[in-house]
Symmetry: C2
Subunit: 395 residues, 2 copies
């Protein structure tokens, strides 16, 4: 009796649940320290001490009726939105005001809000494989059609020639995610410029507006001093979705924001629509205490050295064992080529060594597996002998 | 360039915003203490001290990686769901387990989750006027069709004869909200029994499942010892949506839950669907810190005496002035008959005395206005001279 749309999704989700339960089962048999669960993007770095201090100060200093109350605008507290805008302007030379910021229930909430605001049934949303699999569900929620660009497995930069041919008059949005989940690749400034040029030409050709949605939960996780371009500066119709899940290690608290710049087509209406969508989708407003927390912690930085050590150790370890993998410049994922075409068979083989990884098919890129290295350093180090045996199997 | 569905909603929302801005404008001219804003259901009672203490204890005692991390299941922490189930069982003699509880982003989030899980396009959702206007948007989000039962303005209990004639083979859900927004009426046990009987007979007649969705954010706000029936005990296909917005004065924190009992048709699939819907709609999970807070504060009670004093003072004050109104048994709203047919004209007249109330048309019941008395006692007392002048105008 559940809805037809949900029938398939429930079936798929039981596969994910099965993996989770398998992890629990293995942990019970072998002990949790002997199970190497690389399947989830749940940060293992604790939230900075300043988050705790900020919460305690807010509890002592703010009026609880305001601190825990509905915000006047569904977009969130005016002072928080102002502070976020100001901070972006200082970092990226942008020119945002409070009105350009909508506080959201994480990046996932923000993406739903903007897609609800934009999509008519049958509108097309372009994504570049490999991509975060949830984009398909989010697009489907509003009866949009997901259009995939096939992966460039040399560089994992977007395939721009194919992109150009797949833009149609029904293309309403393009989602990019850089630093990328699942590859860790940062889209280069050159890529972004070319992409913007293609979209501008197509907008003119078709007389349409094509929105670039930049999903940026991993913005702060970039290594070796790599710069992550701020996309509103390259293309007017850009909407940015951000989350503090990774930068402040608050994924469960569901706090992030959307930026809708004045330069975006119909920005005033789009901002109003995002406000309404926040309300009617049932978010109502981003959790209020956490809105105030992120304002207090705007200048806080994640301990990137933790992830970096994991990255270096796992990347070098796997390369030495003969695995093929591009070195990630950001996020906390390695996207490793499966030694056999059917990467699900490879995932199953890894399980024999208590190693849990996610098949690339979940990201529109079969033949690869994703390893989330946001785990403890011990998990990385202790998993390497298992990976060695796994490599041995495929030699 | 925003979606067609959103165009109208944005237009409507600017009416609400206009009222809000009008309130701000009046406050600037006359001082906030001389503006009587009865338009919003934002509790003026602060969260109990135990909420603050619970948060501080959680910050000091829990591992921040767990406290602020994704929950293993999208339905929320197992211990929290267990505690919620246990508490319901103790209070209402039910028999729930953790699996029957899905923690949600408030009641609004929960309603979206359950409607997403249930509705196919064209499915009908029945509501009883007057009803919370957002039900229309929530139903529309999943291409359902809202079917209104006209109000019984004598008792504001549901009109069951009309209800019976409007159930069709496409009826997928019926939403009830008791204690009711906007009337404050509690649906009687007799009403509930009859309603359940009608639905059971129709299920048999059509060979369908009809889900009763009980939206209960006001459950704890019942006066004069009135009992609010727990609906799962009267009808198997009942799903309960709850929120701590009012009971713990945490509306901005977005924390509530759904109960999907084992007795509900297809309950296992429905529970799985709610889990998936929580994820793909972008909630991902209810805010984690607040999940733990409500667990710690399960036995906490709102200071109902505060609202009760407001209720008595305003109800008696308005009756003495000749206004017609049913005495509310729950929630924190008065639903007052407009002295003129066009209640929007009455709202406009009230504004002259700096009194802001919401037209009944917003609740599918024109000719009435809603007064939210979750304000300070001073606001109630000081508004009465304005109401007196308003009454004078219509004598």
């Amino acid at each position: 009796m559940i809805s037809k749309k949900m029938e398939n999704m429930v079936a798929n989700s039981s596969a994910i649940r099965a993996m989770f339960e398998e992890g629990n089962r293995l942990a019970q048999i072998y002990g949790p320290e002997n199970v190497f669960d690389f399947s989830l993007g749940n940060p293992n770095v604790p939230a900075p001490e300043s988050v705790k201090n900020a919460i305690k100060a807010l509890l002592d200093e703010e009026d609880p009726v305001v601190l825990h109350g509905y915000t006047n605008s569904n977009a969130g507290y005016e002072d928080v939105r102002s502070a976020v805008a100001q901070s972006l302007n200082e970092r990226f030379g942008t020119d945002f005001e409070a009105r350009n910021i909508t506080m959201t229930v994480g990046a996932a909430g923000g993406l739903n809000v903007i897609l609800k605001s934009l999509l008519n049934p049958g509108d097309e949303v372009i994504v570049f494989a490999p991509y975060f699999g949830e984009y398909r569900s989010y697009t489907n929620n509003y009866d949009g059609i997901l259009v995939e660009i096939s992966p460039d497995t040399e560089t994992f930069q977007p395939k721009l020639d194919e992109f150009e041919t797949k833009i149609t008059p029904r293309t309403k949005a393009v989602i990019v995610n850089t630093p990328n989940n699942p590859t860790g690749v940062v889209y280069s400034e050159d890529t972004i410029r070319k992409m913007a040029g293609i979209m501008e030409a197509k907008q003119k050709e078709y007389g349409t507006d094509i929105y670039l949605i930049s999903d940026e939960p991993y913005r702060e996780l970039a290594y070796d001093g790599v710069e992550v371009p701020y996309l509103t500066k390259y293309y007017d119709n850009t909407v940015v979705g951000y989350s503090y899940s990774k930068s402040l290690s608050l994924p469960g608290e569901r706090i992030g924001y959307l930026v809708i710049p004045d330069e975006a087509a119909d920005s005033e209406k789009l901002i109003a629509a995002a406000n309404v969508a926040t309300r009617i989708l049932g978010f109502v407003n981003a959790p209020t205490l956490q809105q105030k927390v992120v304002k207090a912690c705007l200048n806080e930085k994640t301990d990137i050295s933790f992830y970096n050590r994991n990255r270096e150790t796992l990347y070098n370890g796997l390369k030495e064992l003969g695995f093929e993998c591009i070195k990630p410049e950001g996020a906390f994922y390695l996207f490793v080529k499966s030694p056999v075409e059917d990467e699900k068979a490879f995932c199953a083989a890894a399980k024999k060594y208590n190693i849990l990884v996610v098949p690339g098919s979940s990201f529109g890129c079969p033949g690869y597996v994703r390893i989330a290295y946001c785990v403890s350093y011990e998990t990385i180090v202790n998993s390497l002998p298992g990976f060695a045996k796994l490599a041995e199997e495929y030699r």
